[in-house]
Symmetry: C2
Subunit: 269 residues, 2 copies
């Protein structure tokens, strides 16, 4: 089994400085890294792009665009697309945002996501960046992402060309969905699996539920079955491991990378 398909999402090693992360990833011989905008900006987008180029390390995704309920979403997402282009990241992952302040109208929020993505498509196409709609677990529906299932993400993507709008399949968010297997097959048939991310489901969830993910093998998700399902649907891209957990963040980045890679090989590859 090879390490070349494995990509470390930087959210897993939150406090590892970006330049050290890139060097560590290259030294480990993995296939790439997924980056987040805030840390990349802090280090300098051009600088990170140059460093990755020098190391020959692909940047598999940029996280995240979206949050379409916020004023200024259009300009912010255009900037995100530009950054992905600069970094050579082929995919901008979209976390679509929750309900606007004071709103209970989830239907309207969902329609707005579709419209907003449509407005971004021309810019994304010009930049050579694919937008990947990521359904988030329904426990985030009100405050982070009104897109809650893979089927819904595909419905939102449908009006737009697959080379511009796909979906991001993250095991943590979709594992519970009784329709997930047929929706993965559908996503493949529609040519829209942009990215595949793996994290495990563990309980009890912590307060705020954001930082409660497990490393591969720590939880209850059939991770290999998911990897096999996206493969069977025609996906050939990287497998990103993206784990948010305070205990994982507290550890040295290189140590977390080594363990995550081993767990990927044991439970996902």
């Amino acid at each position: 089994m090879s390490t070349a398909r494995f990509s470390l999402n930087a959210a897993t090693t939150k406090h590892w400085p970006v330049d050290e992360l890139l060097a560590g990833a290259a030294a480990a011989g993995i296939g790439g890294v997924g980056l987040w905008r805030e840390e990349t900006q802090a280090h300098g987008v051009e600088k990170v792009a140059a460093l990755a180029r020098d190391l020959g390390l692909p940047i598999t995704t940029l996280c995240r665009g979206g949050f379409f309920q916020e004023p200024g979403w259009f300009d912010e997402n255009r900037r995100a697309i530009d950054e992905a282009h600069t970094l050579g990241a082929p995919i901008l992952v979209l976390v679509s945002g929750g309900l606007p302040d004071g709103s209970r109208d989830v239907d309207a929020a969902r329609r707005h996501v579709g419209d907003a993505i449509g407005e971004l498509v021309p810019h994304a196409r010009a930049a050579g960046v694919q937008l990947a709609i990521e359904p988030l677990h329904p426990m985030f529906a009100s405050d982070r992402c009104v897109v809650s299932t893979l089927g819904q993400a595909l419905d939102l993507a449908r009006p737009y060309p697959a080379e511009s709008v796909g979906v991001c399949v993250d095991t943590y968010h979709v594992w519970w969905d009784p329709e997930v297997w047929e929706q993965i097959a559908r996503a493949g048939a529609e040519g829209r699996i942009s990215a595949f991310q793996a994290a495990d489901w563990i309980t009890p969830l912590p307060e705020g539920v954001l930082l409660g993910r497990g490393l591969p093998g720590q939880g209850v998700i059939e991770l290999r079955r998911f990897r096999e399902a996206v493969d069977a649907a025609g996906y050939t891209g990287p497998v990103e491991v993206e784990v948010f957990h305070a205990d994982v963040w507290a550890r040295p980045g290189a140590e977390v990378l080594a363990e995550t890679l081993n767990r990927y090989l044991a439970h996902v590859a």
Copy 2:
């Protein structure tokens, strides 16, 4: 607007002794109460049944059967059915349980739920008690309930007669589902809406996520729209408000009942 359709689920006033709850509910002129097994057993099932009868207070549901992943589920659920019969509760709400210890096979767990319900149907029918499969929010899929959507609950119910197996629609668990409106209509068309429960969705979720519900109007759910949807689907039964929250539990029962009733009238009725 009338108070006669409102039922207070005892989980909202967790520490209010059952006899005081029944007396308080009768004095408030509400339509009934939903009870939980543990507190009812502690007080004496026969005694609670007699008290409710004397007060003329309907017991709208008994919570809960289910937890089919546990050894002994069959006998335990038969006892729950018997208790519902004794109490004159027409409905036993089923929280179907999570994954068995050490298992990652959610498909098998879901199949087992369907089989288990089938084994209970004869006893439920003989007792005149309807089993109500309750889909729980997907954040509970691993540890409390592998039934995660209303559509899935209806699929599980389908092999059995509607008078014996229906579904419990709880706004807290299903509000995020993009398919919920069509599934409510389907549930009505299939004659399977056994119970309707209302609670609101608030964030941030607390550690463990069990005790994070909002009273009606405190959160983001379109509660009245849900009540209108079940009505339009032909449901004419009680509206139970069932809120698990540590802050609510810390308050005097009568005070919580009064506020909950007012909130029901303002946001649900």
